[in-house]
């Protein structure tokens, strides 16, 4: 519909410079410039390298997104930007550019929450979010279970990782197996040729007295490293595909089990999975199976919308406009630890 809000969204919380354009629930453009290759040799995202790349790519990516969407900047109803959480210096490039862009165009600005955006992006794939929605967000930076009765105003954290994020565990195990960075896609690929039952790796925080919705992946990572070292010390060839498959099985088992338990505990019938790890094929397959068995409707956006991108920020911005939420002010700060309970940062609501 032409009267749905036309919004441009900017995302720079980590290593992707993302700019998306949406009209309501319709994706018009999703331009991404990634600096991931520059970080590969360090085995993780280097903040200063990411920030420099954001500054270089910011305006070209905005212009690419507008061209891709076939809209003029003057026709936008609002500009949305990730205000946090994320890497402080990286966020600041996007926030500065978004504020200036909105100001120069005379458009309202919405500083929004990165995690809420990961949830809201599913509106571009599967239409309006059911209320409430249960969300499992898994990436290199976060692993959390969130209950979202209203994605623009009410998001409640049920649990999160107490140590490594799920994606981080993938990266670290990939390093142990000599598969390079980022580890997720490499392990996913290799695991298809391996036996997921070959090694029974530990499932963290699944005991009866453990926090039901929190995650822990650091013990798993250590167990994999130790197992591999033992094999090597004994002069036995490491069955890399089996280890990858068994590790991946342990991660996805815990993630899906806890997500479904959270749905049951809260009486929620819809589960969405977002974040970079949601691109993992085993996680998607296992979630489908277990949700079907539990009578829960599963929503997972296509992989490109699961990783960090500007379209997800635009999607949440469009929802803010549609629900008449208050825009942000020109002194909107980049907040590296913006709590998930704040889906956006309206004027006068920081400091």
């Amino acid at each position: 519909m032409a009267d749905e809000p036309l919004v441009l969204g900017i995302e720079t919380s980590c290593d992707e410079t993302g700019v998306g354009v949406v009209r309501g629930h319709t994706l018009l453009a999703d331009a991404v410039a990634s600096s991931v290759d520059d970080h590969a040799r360090y085995g993780g995202v280097v903040p200063e390298i990411a920030s420099r790349a954001h500054l270089e790519e910011m305006v070209p990516t905005i212009e690419r997104a507008l061209a891709e969407a076939g809209v003029a900047a003057a026709d936008l109803d609002a500009i949305a930007v990730t205000a946090g959480p994320g890497l402080a210096g990286a966020l600041l490039v996007g926030v500065s550019a978004a504020k200036a862009y909105a100001y120069a165009l005379g458009k309202p600005l919405y500083g929004v929450n990165h995690l809420a955006s990961h949830i809201c992006v599913d509106q571009l794939e599967h239409g309006p979010l059911p209320e409430p929605t249960m969300a499992l967000l898994v990436s290199g930076g976060h692993s959390s279970l969130l209950l979202a009765p209203d994605i623009t105003a009410d998001v409640r954290p049920l649990g999160a990782t107490i140590d490594d994020a799920a994606g981080e565990a993938f990266d670290k195990v990939a390093r142990v197996l000599g598969l390079g960075f980022p580890g997720g896609p490499a392990i996913d690929r290799l695991a298809r040729e391996g036996d997921p039952e070959a090694v029974r790796f530990p499932r963290g925080l699944t005991g009866p007295r453990d926090a039901p919705f929190d995650f822990s992946f650091s013990g798993l990572k250590t167990a994999v490293a130790r197992w591999v070292e033992t094999q090597r010390a004994a002069g036995v060839a490491v069955p890399v595909a089996d280890v990858a498959a068994s590790f991946q099985e342990a991660v996805t088992d815990v993630l899906t089990r806890k997500a479904i338990r959270a749905c049951r505990a809260e009486g929620v019938e819809h589960l969405m999975i977002g974040g970079g790890v949601a691109a993992n094929s085993r996680l998607r397959a296992m979630a489908e199976e277990r949700c079907a068995a539990a009578g829960i409707t599963l929503r997972v956006p296509r992989p490109k919308l699961c990783t960090d991108n500007g379209a997800m920020v635009a999607a949440l911005g469009a929802e803010m406009v549609a629900r008449n939420r208050q825009p942000s002010a020109w002194d909107l700060p980049a907040d590296s630890s913006l709590p998930v309970t704040r889906p956006h940062v309206p004027a006068g609501h920081h400091h």
């Binding site: 360090y42 420099r52 305006v59 210096g89 862009y101 994020a165 002194d331 700060p333």
Partner: protein
Amino acid sequence: MLLLALDTATPAVTVALHDGERVLASSGEVDARRHGELLLVAVDRVLGEAGRPLREVTALVVGTGPGPYTGLRVGLATAQAIGAARGLPVYGLCTLDGLAYATGLGEPFVVAADARRKEVYWARYADFRTRTSGPAVDRPGELPAEVAALPAAGAGARLYPEFFPGLRADLPEHVAAGALAALAAERLAAGEELPPPRPRYLRRPDAKVPTGYKAVTRG
């Protein structure tokens, strides 16, 4: 000509509007930790004080550093985005040149800004318009002796007076956007082509992967 100038490469967040003849309005606030929050509010205030809307601006001038990176990028991202949104040219000038221009000195001198980590960003000038070496980043004790002995301006010189015997406390501490704009206006009027707004980092990035970033969703 209506130039909007801004600089965030030093602890100062500074904005000025210049019509080619003089500064119409300006703003300077010193707060090294809040560049991102202060800059656009200052732009809005300066335009308001001058009574000129943004659509009358013909070009932007931004300080390209050298300066602490996070703050430096606020000014560059802001200038580039305003330029893109309004289809305006954006020029980049060395921040130390702006500071040098403000001294008005007709003799050789040195400008030094605080580069943190016990270093200074510095450049040497023959007079207030002419840079003869730099910008560079060094420990203050490692500057060539004949440069360190010159009259010195800037926060870097004030921070290490033992290495800058020619320190002149009457000269500016930080860059002011008014001076940056005046310098740009002068060069544009002379038919000079000004450089694009590219950051002068002078150092390679610290290649350190942070630990503890995953905790963002807790608490």
